[in-house]
């Protein structure tokens, strides 16, 4: 099975405190470290496990600049055979729809049985996968937490839905799936593993190479801000003992102690 996984380079949410810059209109990028979007990482692990079972190959693709090579290499160290960078000045300003269009142009020039995206990324848009599928006129499923290959043409999938339940469906190949965290346990990528792929070639493709024509943006970001906080909770003061005493009183009053 030829699998493509779309990966995004994002500020690493676990290692960073995302906050506004001093001007208060954008994110403070001074101390940020970047990594592969967590959801995309789960998708790459899933792709590798699928290929381990049924054979084939995994390609990872990312849109950005040279800086993206680091994350592509990391996923290759994990086990993806090929890494591809889509880079072009035309790609710099983009909303989710345009990103999906770029990816769609690349996919149309290749032959993939399965395309995986992470269910969402840092902006929480959760849109590229679904848009991509519609552009490719391929069936789609979002928030996939289980994949089983039934045969060359069909997958059995599980989707995570409300209340922790799982929706089971059968979907035809070729298709696009967006992957939810927790679908598997991604393997660790050691420094040694990264060094092993340090000199592997990562082809860079521009707009002309993939036959991409620009599309106007539908969503334009104006600025970041911190919303006015409402009143919030009544904060209690005092020593631990005093706080505990006060809390016991409140709980008793509100029926919190049976």
């Amino acid at each position: 099975m030829n699998i493509l996984v779309c990966v995004k380079r994002v500020p690493d949410s676990s290692e960073n405190e995302i906050r506004l810059n001093r001007e208060g209109n954008d994110i403070d990028t001074d101390d940020l470290v970047y990594a592969v979007n967590e959801w995309d990482n789960y998708a790459v692990e899933e792709a590798i496990q699928l290929v381990d079972k049924v054979g084939g190959s995994v390609t990872v693709v990312s849109i950005g600049t040279e800086e993206n090579e680091e994350i592509l290499r990391r996923e290759m160290a994990m086990g993806a055979e090929t890494g591809v960078l889509l880079s072009d000045p035309l790609f710099e300003e983009a909303d989710g729809r345009k990103l999906a269009a770029i990816l769609s142009a690349y996919i149309s020039k290749n032959n993939f049985d399965l395309v995986l995206c992470g269910a969402q990324a840092d902006e929480g848009g959760a849109q590229v996968g679904g848009m991509l599928a519609a552009m490719q006129d391929k069936p789609y499923a979002a928030l996939v937490n289980m994949i089983e290959v039934l045969d060359d043409n069909k997958l059995k999938i599980g989707r995570e839905i409300e209340g922790g339940s799982q929706e089971i469906s059968e979907i035809e190949l070729p298709c696009v799936l967006s992957i939810q965290t927790g679908i598997n346990e991604p393997r660790y990528v050691s420094i040694r593993g990264i060094r092993k792929v340090a000199s592997v070639e990562i082809p860079t493709l521009g707009a002309a190479d993939i036959g991409f024509t620009d599309v106007p943006l539908r969503l334009n970001k104006l600025e970041y801000f911190q919303p006015e906080l409402g009143e919030g909770a009544e904060m209690l003061e005092g020593s631990e003992e005093e706080l505990a005493d006060k809390l016991v009183e409140l709980l008793q009053a509100k029926g919190g102690i049976k």
């Binding site: 676990s14 290692e15 990594a35 040694r192 092993k196």
Partner: protein, 692 residues
């Protein structure tokens, strides 16, 4: 009355002398074959570097192998073993002589004539007796009393009592048959100077056989000879098939032992750092990836269970038992490289004889290695197995996060590097204790290497501020690296991420050498250990306790008596200060210097100290266990009658403060750091502020 020996005896027209030659020859040929098969995996194993520093090695042969110094740590079993061991040594000459007597009846060691011969006869008679008695006691102990240490948990297979009692029986048979051989000759009319030492086994048998017929005596004499002969050679050939292989391998296992504490073996011996990237595979994934010495370790295990008995992970029921790390590997070696048959394909170790959790559960405390009378190593094997797991990406999610953070931020918490030196800037503190920030060309005589937990954990920052205050009081010219400092990496290396460790080590070394301090001081024993053992080209590294002891001797401290007069203190030896670096005394000296100090020792102290559950990456791992090691340890402190538990390691402090809460001992036991306690009692002269 006279009877003949095996060299002259004839039965059914055949001279038994033939058997006396045949049995040894066949047995020795068989034995040589068995040993040659046992050597095959060692030849296929990875390289090791043990043919060096023979002076030190022979010193260990003397104390560990010959004098058996570790045996009495388990007194009864130890004394029994020493009896059997020394007995065997004494009986060696006799055993060999007996073989020759089988075809040359009057064989005698040329140097054992006259009074030396008499002396030896007495010695060997008592040796055989002592060995026999020891075997009986040991047999009762193993077969009937069944001390829990020997029990085999279900998941590890069948009980080993059978094998143990069988061997004790064989040895007893050897002693009995040897004594009967002598006694029967003595009663039938021995030679001049031939006697049985009073109250020895031979002496008793002589008494028993007195008055027996010549036939009985002759029969006993010949039968006991061949029973001995056959048992002896059977035993010899049996040794390489079980835990008694150690009888043959122990000498070599001790000779080639690991000489240094607290170190970690290189990924592969004989490979330069630059060549590491070319290796196909890192770490131990299959049996043949172990070094020959590690395989020799597997052969040499006597299945005594002392390692697991001391192992804190085993005590809290984590899925790790060091004894079975060895026994399972030994059994796999036996199965994969059988004596009768061709070498087999061995499956991968992890998922085969070992589980991932088993390997991650080790805190590298070293209690197992400290205890093993055969100098079997564990830490290097665990590290090698972890290197293999890391290489395959098989790392629990709980460890992946801190490892990624270490790579990106230089600390396992994911906090920014900028935050690292911030603790010196706190207003009140900075006013009284100036700490240099060694950046941009700034240097100092002493580098205070703070490391990660000390830079980011609020509780440990408190302690480091006290340490800085003490260094300042001692007029030391010191500073910290701040942003440039990354995690020293003790656990990074011991958890198997060797290349991340190498990268971080390179970075730190460069940063340190740029400052070019005269010495490095740290409050963190893990830092202390790795900078001393794993780094190269650094100035001398000392733990804060060593510096304070020096200051004490120089009279730099005026110490207030302890306020609460009735408190009883006890000191917990951190693994990376105690066992791994032999720093047991300095912390005790500091405590005893405090006026009014009342100190007790826990039963498990010094080299028997019980691990708090580990530091660095070990704090992030989520083990399967029944209790927490910290909880077990604080209960030990209570049992010793202590009100205050003092420790000299930030991780011990964190683990045991948590443990006190979990065990509900907040009103009974206080946990405090050594530096913190010491600083509380020092009369600090207020520093002269700006010039008057």
């Amino acid at each position: 009355m006279d009877i003949v020996g095996p060299a002259q005896f004839v039965v059914l027209g055949i001279k038994t002398q033939i058997f006396s030659i045949l049995i040894p020859v066949v047995a020795l040929v068989l034995f040589a074959y068995i040993i040659s098969k046992r050597l095959i995996p060692l030849r296929r194993a990875a390289q090791d570097e043990r043919f060096n520093r023979f002076g030190e090695r022979l010193a260990q042969i003397w104390s560990l192998w010959l004098l058996q110094v570790k045996q009495p740590r388990y007194m009864l079993a130890g004394v029994l073993h020493m009896a059997i061991f020394f007995g065997f040594l004494v009986l060696m000459l006799r055993s060999i002589a007996l073989v020759f007597i089988g075809f040359q009846g009057d064989f005698q060691w040329p140097f054992l004539d006259g009074s030396l011969g008499v002396g030896y006869t007495i010695a060997k008679d008592y040796a055989a007796t002592v060995v026999f008695v020891a075997c009986v006691v040991a047999g009762i102990r193993r077969g009937i009393v069944k001390p829990p240490r020997y029990a085999v948990p279900e998941q590890y297979g069948k009980d080993h009592t059978g094998e143990a009692v069988f061997v004790l029986a064989l040895i007893s048979v050897l002693m009995i048959s040897e004594s009967l051989f002598d006694a029967s000759k003595l009663v039938a009319g021995g030679e001049v100077g031939h006697f049985a030492a009073p109250l020895s086994l031979a002496w008793f048998f002589t008494g028993m056989l007195r008055g027996s017929s010549t036939e009985l005596l002759q029969g006993t004499h010949i039968v006991s000879y061949y029973v001995h002969d056959l048992t002896f050679f059977y035993f010899l050939c049996f040794l390489p098939f079980g835990k008694h292989f150690h009888v043959l391998t122990s000498f070599f296992n001790v000779l080639f032992l690991r000489l240094d504490r607290g170190t970690v073996k290189p990924v592969r011996y004989g490979l330069a750092k630059e060549e590491l990237d070319d290796l196909e595979s890192f770490g131990v994934k299959k049996l043949e990836d172990f070094t020959w010495k590690h395989m020799l370790d597997f052969y040499s295990c006597a299945d005594c269970g002392r390692c697991s008995d001391q192992c804190p992970a085993n005590a809290v029921k984590r899925p790790l038992s060091p004894r079975f790390i060895t026994i399972k590997a030994r059994d796999l070696l036996f199965k994969t490289f059988p004596v009768w048959g061709q070498p087999q394909e061995a499956p991968a170790l992890i998922g085969g004889i070992y589980t991932e959790d088993e390997i991650w559960s080790c805190t590298t405390c070293g209690a197992c290695e400290e205890e093993c009378p055969l100098a079997i190593e564990y830490i290097d094997k665990i590290v090698d197995l972890r290197r293999g797991l890391i290489d395959e990406g098989m790392v629990p999610q709980s460890l992946q996060k801190p490892l990624n953070a270490l790579e990106k931020r230089g600390n396992p918490y994911g906090k920014t590097a900028k935050q690292r030196g911030k603790w010196i800037e706190e207003e009140e503190f900075a006013q009284t204790v100036p700490v240099k920030l060694l950046q941009g060309g700034e240097t100092a005589d002493t580098l205070f290497f703070v490391d990660s937990v000390g830079s980011y954990d609020d509780r440990i920052i408190e302690i480091n501020r006290k340490a800085a205050q003490l260094l300042h009081h001692m007029d030391k010219d010191f500073g910290i690296l701040g942003e440039q400092e990354k995690d020293a990496g003790n656990e990074i290396r011991r958890f198997g991420e060797e290349m991340l460790f190498q990268e971080i080590k390179e970075h730190n070394t460069e940063a340190i050498l740029e400052v070019a301090p005269q010495e490095i001081v740290t409050t963190d024993p893990h830092t202390f250990n790795t900078l001393r053992k794993d780094y190269e080209g650094l100035p001398p590294v000392r733990h804060i306790s060593q510096v304070l002891v020096e200051g004490l001797a120089q009279g730099k401290f005026s110490l207030r008596p302890l306020e609460e007069k009735d408190l009883v203190y006890t000191y917990h030896d951190p693994c990376y200060l105690g066992r791994h670096n032999l720093l047991y005394d300095e912390p005790r000296q500091l405590l005893d210097a405090l006026p009014g100090m009342k100190r007790v020792e826990m039963e498990k102290h010094r080299d028997r100290s019980f691990c708090c559950s580990g530091g660095g990456l070990a704090l992030f791992y989520e083990p399967e266990e029944e209790t927490r090691m910290g909880v077990v340890r604080v209960q030990m402190a209570r049992e010793a009658g202590a009100d205050v538990l003092v420790t000299a390691c930030p991780f011990c402090l964190i683990n045991m403060e948590d443990a006190v809460k979990i065990a509900g001992l907040e009103n009974e036991l206080k946990v405090i750091d050594l530096t913190e306690l010491f600083a509380e009692q020092v009369e600090f002269v207020p520093t002269v502020a700006a010039a008057v």
